[in-house]
Amino acid sequence: MNNRGPLLIAFVCGMLMMAESFLDYSWLNSFAEWVQKYYIIIAAFAIVLGVASLFKLHLAKLKRKEDGWRYSLVVFFGFFAMIITGFFMNDGGLVGTKHPWNAWLYNNVQLPLGATMFSLLAFFIASAAYRAFRARSLEATLLLVAACLVMLGQVPILTGGIFDNLPEIKQWILDIPNMASKRAIMIGVGLGMMSTALKIIFGIEKTYLGGSEE
């Protein structure tokens, strides 16, 4: 299938949404409002596709008895436990708060797993720092010095003399060089985002559609 139709749709939708940002017109504003609603519905349909893909992957593993196939059973167990308690036992309200079994699963399985994964960052940040903070070049030295000053400025374990000024030095680093860089990066990102989005709207960039190109 050629991509002319979809490219035209992308153009029209993109232009309408851009126009809505600038113009106050009833049907345009209504269109934008519907679009926000449509968006989450498309995402809801897409999750069916995602779960189908997940099932396909793990069913194939089970069928072929691939390495680690038993863990695919764990995936299905977790999935159906949540589906039964959160989907079928739900009486139509917000998920996670209605049926006590679903809340129990969420609080004692999903939350602790997420929180523990998050806490692994403490170990990984230490290993990253150990490897990276070697002053091999001026740039690496600047990175190392800035990180140390900010860390020490946040938790002033050293006191006396110049160390009493560490919190002010930390704040200065955050307010001046850090702010300057962040502004420059944000400006560049803004221009890059605009360029990419305009290329999509005007059909200059078509790869996201796949398929044969005209």
Binding site: C13, A81, A146, G190
Partner: protein, 257 residues
């Protein structure tokens, strides 16, 4: 150190704590190396979270926004009220409730599912994707321009105005007393922004003045990355403290006094 009662596993709450503690240790075991306990926890996490999101999307999104609306729309159609069926009031004005107008996202959603259902008709999904990405692009452009470009530019210039009493009053800003240090900071901020911005010129060769600016820009960028790195260390450590508190206090009942 006080050893309180270890969490009981003959109550729902206690059993939950034991399971949460077991899963916590399974994830921590990854720090040593990949092992069956981590694999178990990882696969359970994937399964549980996928099931959770299906439930969320159905009860919080699909049912109230589409299924209920379509039901109301078809009911109105059955009663012969065409305008109400399509979410229009008596005067023909658009109502907040879309009713049968939700047939459009239903159709777009079905097009996406065709990827899995019918390879032959999967090309229809491109209509949905083009719509989805076209809308996203249209929304992103003015937002990117105003928040990421103009707002940052405004911030860069505003400091110079705040320190000048007449300018501040004219611009409606609160005048600030400018000391030499503040002026130096303002100029350093400008130099940093301009030199870091110069680093991102792709089509200009890095020669002469631009080369010097690029170098200065990289130095500012490295200081910024170091500062961001250092700033998050404490937050990350506190996350670990939180999990350790759960293990020692909630699970094992150990408190330190």
């Amino acid at each position: 150190m006080i050893l309180n009662l270890i969490a009981p596993f003959n109550t729902t709450e206690g059993l939950g704590i034991w399971i949460a503690a077991f899963l916590t240790l399974c994830i921590f075991s990854f720090l040593y190396k990949d092992n069956p306990f981590y694999k178990f926890a990882e696969h359970l996490f994937v399964g549980v979270s996928s099931g959770y999101y299906i439930s969320i999307y159905y009860w919080n999104t699909l049912k109230p926004n589409m299924i209920d609306e379509l039901t109301k729309g078809f009911t109105a159609l059955g009663k012969g009220d065409m305008q109400k069926a399509f979410g229009l009031d008596e005067s023909g004005a658009v109502m907040a409730e879309p009713h049968l107008r939700m047939l459009v996202p239903l159709m777009l959603g079905i097009f996406i599912l065709l990827i899995f259902i019918s390879r032959k008709n999967a090309w229809l999904s491109r209509i949905s994707f083009a719509w989805y990405i076209g809308v996203a692009s249209g929304i992103a452009i003015p937002t990117a321009m105003s928040t990421r470009v103009l707002l940052q530019a405004q911030g860069s210039i505003r400091d110079f105005c705040s320190y000048n009493a007449d300018c501040a009053v004219s611009a409606g800003l609160e005048p600030q007393v400018a000391t030499t240090a503040l002026w130096i900071n303002a100029f350093l901020l400008l130099i940093g922004t301009l030199s870091a911005l110069a680093y991102f010129f792709f089509s200009l060769p890095s020669k002469g003045a631009l080369k010097v600016m690029n170098k200065v820009g990289i130095y500012f960028l490295m200081i910024s990355f170091g500062a961001s790195f250092g700033y998050t260390v404490m937050a990350r450590i506190s996350l670990l403290i939180g999990r350790l508190q759960f293990l020692f206090y909630d699970w094992l009942g150990i408190t330190i006094s």
